[in-house]
Symmetry: C2
Subunit: 318 residues, 2 copies
């Protein structure tokens, strides 16, 4: 099978590149290196069935060329930064909604009809039902990131109905593990590296969040691709637990052997648009036989160990 | 109050222009005349408190200038053509999603924070619950029109949360009445004008659809603006009934005194992405005290009479 991985040099995309190559598939990675890291592709770049295209998804001719002869698209390129949406509202619109449209059009121009789309639990806004199922009440968006990802989902669905595409949409909780390069564990680690005695926490620390280990996430997606057969397949993807930000802090500082003084910005939300409680109902993907291997605590510890062994990444992501 | 009406030369927008002027407000109409009609503004153009800007919503500087000093935006400009989405997928994205983003940005640049957004019952896709309430299960999109309008809704909601906007989102059924200029009654009328003896119907004629009379629609929106006080206010807007396409055909041909031979393309849907059953639960807007004055049948008859007296519109909309 010949696959295209957008965001192929990113945290999740690069793991897909490695797994797909290992499984014997041809892989084209497409990345603008706005947040992607060439070092994530060190192994892939030595592989004869791997091709790297440096390009932006807003560059339609380059994208159309990249989609030639492809059987399956993994669309992981995105602006994954939820927090700074209000400073750069257009970035979410362009990189998450318009870029997804461009991917769909590049596929249509090349007769490619199967797509995996990385959506987010943020599309539920601030739901009333926990754990939140895929068919929760029609949500209200609270972030530009969620709004733009919802737009991407909606476009994928419309292409499935209108052009006979088959879509796999995954609403992730936050993902942790090797190559993790943005988010609260990253921020905490960076702070503690600079000042081991103090740690600033956004919000009151009682925000309840869910996380999943990146390889569990990949396993779930490959499981769904193998076993889900609808035209539009939508899955929540997370663990059956959540933790408080304060739990993360405890696990992270214990792993580092530090006891910093904690200071809090206060309030139930870390920033405007931050959802104070994320906990997804993942029975649908579990019904296909998938189970996560790592708990949230294990995933956080593993992420800290990875960052410790790869401090180059902290400098690369300034 | 100084108001901006995007799509101000269109079917619904031009009615708002007239009503707002009559109520003593200043009105700036913004329209690219892709489907708008200057004749709809004949009265308004003689009014001292009316200003017309010929411009496209993709022209950001023109739009930013138009939003200066505005208190309330009625965003009605859209590609309202659901049926041809698959022929022109980019039109929906640009005119319904990106254009809405541009309106929101023009507002933000000018400190304008109140917006009325014309959404659609199409955002429910093909729902399982009838009548369909605003908090129906998370929908799946079946048309590019619905997908792009959902994107517009999501952006409005995110701006409400992130930038302190107040939003009024209306999910309409199809609207009928004076200045109606696209849709099935328009198509039927045009066919019968050319060939009074035959009428081609898309689908099997048993599609169940809902309609609302344009002045009932305006009354509902003004009612919500006066009485709904949330940051994000979402309302379905329709009558408490539906009819079959065959009912429309009967009412329309009876009004015209014609008995055409009917032919059907067959199938439950008029086209790919056509929802075979649209029936919205409108208890939320009714709870504010609004009631529609006209039944679907009355609205169709009134629309036919309008088209009969304004055949220029049939030629203008080729």
């Amino acid at each position: 099978m010949r696959t295209l991985v957008t965001g192929g040099a990113g945290f999740i995309g690069s793991h897909f590149v490695d797994r797909l190559l290992a499984a014997g598939h041809d892989v084209v990675a497409y990345d603008n290196f706005s947040t992607g890291q060439e070092r994530f592709l060190d192994q892939a770049l030595t592989h004869p069935r791997f091709q790297l295209i440096r390009g932006d998804l807003l560059d339609r001719p380059a994208l159309a060329a990249g989609a030639q002869g492809i059987d399956l698209v993994f669309h992981f390129a995105a602006n994954a930064d939820v927090r700074f949406g209000l400073e750069w509202p257009e970035r979410d619109l362009q990189q998450n909604a318009v870029a997804t449209f461009n991917v769909l059009e590049a596929m249509r121009a090349n007769g490619v009809t199967r797509i995996v789309f990385a959506s987010t639990g943020s599309v539920y806004g601030e739901p009333d039902v926990f754990p939140t199922p895929e068919d929760a009440p029609f949500p209200r968006q609270t972030s530009l990131y969620g709004a733009a990802k919802l737009a991407g989902e909606a476009l994928v669905q419309a292409y499935c109905e209108g052009y006979g595409f088959q879509g796999y949409i995954f609403r992730f909780v936050s993902i942790l593990g090797e190559r993790y390069s943005h988010g609260h564990v990253f921020d905490f680690y960076r702070q503690l590296r600079a000042h081991p005695d103090t740690l600033h926490v956004l919000g009151d620390g009682h925000q309840r969040k869910s996380y999943i280990y990146v390889h569990d996430c990949l396993d779930a997606i490959f499981c769904a691709l193998e076993r889900a057969v609808n035209r539009v397949n939508i899955f929540n993807l997370g663990t059956d637990e959540y933790c408080e930000v304060n739990d993360s802090v405890r696990w992270l500082t214990r792993e580092l052997g530090l006891s910093p003084v904690l200071s809090y910005t206060g309030g139930a939300r870390g920033w405007v648009g931050d959802s104070p409680f994320i906990f997804l109902d993942c029975r649908r993907i579990r019904s296909l036989g998938w189970r996560p291997a790592l708990s949230i605590q294990d995933a956080i510890v593993r992420t800290v160990r990875y960052l410790r062994a790869n401090e180059w990444l902290l400098d690369a992501r300034r």
